[in-house]
């Protein structure tokens, strides 16, 4: 009697052969590296060009946001919109941690470019979240 095929979907086995064999990468480490270093997940998975684009562009957006007097929002209880902005800020990973440690991101509300700075900072974090999801798809062999 022939063995029945397993009902589990062989997701990882379907991964295409790439130079870095992404199927062998632990997903948690892909997420962690992708969050900490924007584009780091892609670089680790062998998608060098795409990873370098993210590695340059996302921290650049973060730095521009700080230079435009944007604010790194705190997690304030009772203010859900501020909390969402704070969550988006955290998405930037290492640049966020460094800026927090060095005391950057206080924000200057009276600055003409304050809202532009916030837009850059928040968008950098949210785009990095999309980049992590893309790295997830690559690690599973979907891209």
């Amino acid at each position: 009697m022939a063995a029945r095929p397993s009902s589990k979907r062989p997701v990882r086995a379907a991964a295409p052969a790439t130079p870095a064999s992404p199927a062998a990468r632990p997903l948690v480490l892909v997420y962690l590296l992708g969050w900490l270093i924007p584009g780091g997940g892609h670089l680790w998975l062998g998608r060098t060009v795409r990873g370098v684009v993210f590695l340059v562009m996302l921290p650049a957006m973060f730095v521009i946001g700080l230079a435009l007097d944007g604010r790194l929002f705190p997690f304030t209880p009772g203010e859900p919109l501020v909390a969402l902005a704070a969550l988006a800020n955290v998405g930037s990973g290492l640049p966020y941690l460094i800026a927090q440690a060095l005391g950057f991101g206080a924000g200057r509300v009276l600055s003409v470019t304050y809202e532009y700075g916030n837009a850059f900072l928040i968008t950098a974090g949210l785009l990095n979240a999309l980049v992590i999801i893309d790295a997830h798809d690559i690690a599973l062999g979907r891209r």
């Binding site: 060009v49 684009v53 562009m57 650049a60 521009i64 435009l68 003409v112 470019t113 850059f120 785009l127």
Partner: protein
């Protein structure tokens, strides 16, 4: 950044989002460049159209 105009900052923002978006959404460099150009044009164009619409509204 004190001398940067609103239009320049908006274009800079659109450019950054367009490059990342193009790299995310497509696989070949040609497709990525085309998608980035489309995103950039859409963002800047929509902002200009909205700006003119709001200009005529008595808000």
């Amino acid at each position: 950044m004190g001398t940067a105009s609103h239009l320049l900052l908006m274009a800079l923002f659109a450019g950054c989002v367009a490059v990342v978006g193009g790299a995310l959404l497509k696989d070949t460099p040609r497709q990525q460049a085309r998608t980035a150009a489309e995103i950039f044009g859409s963002l800047v164009g929509a902002a200009l159209v909205l700006g003119w619409v709001l200009y005529f509204l008595p808000l």
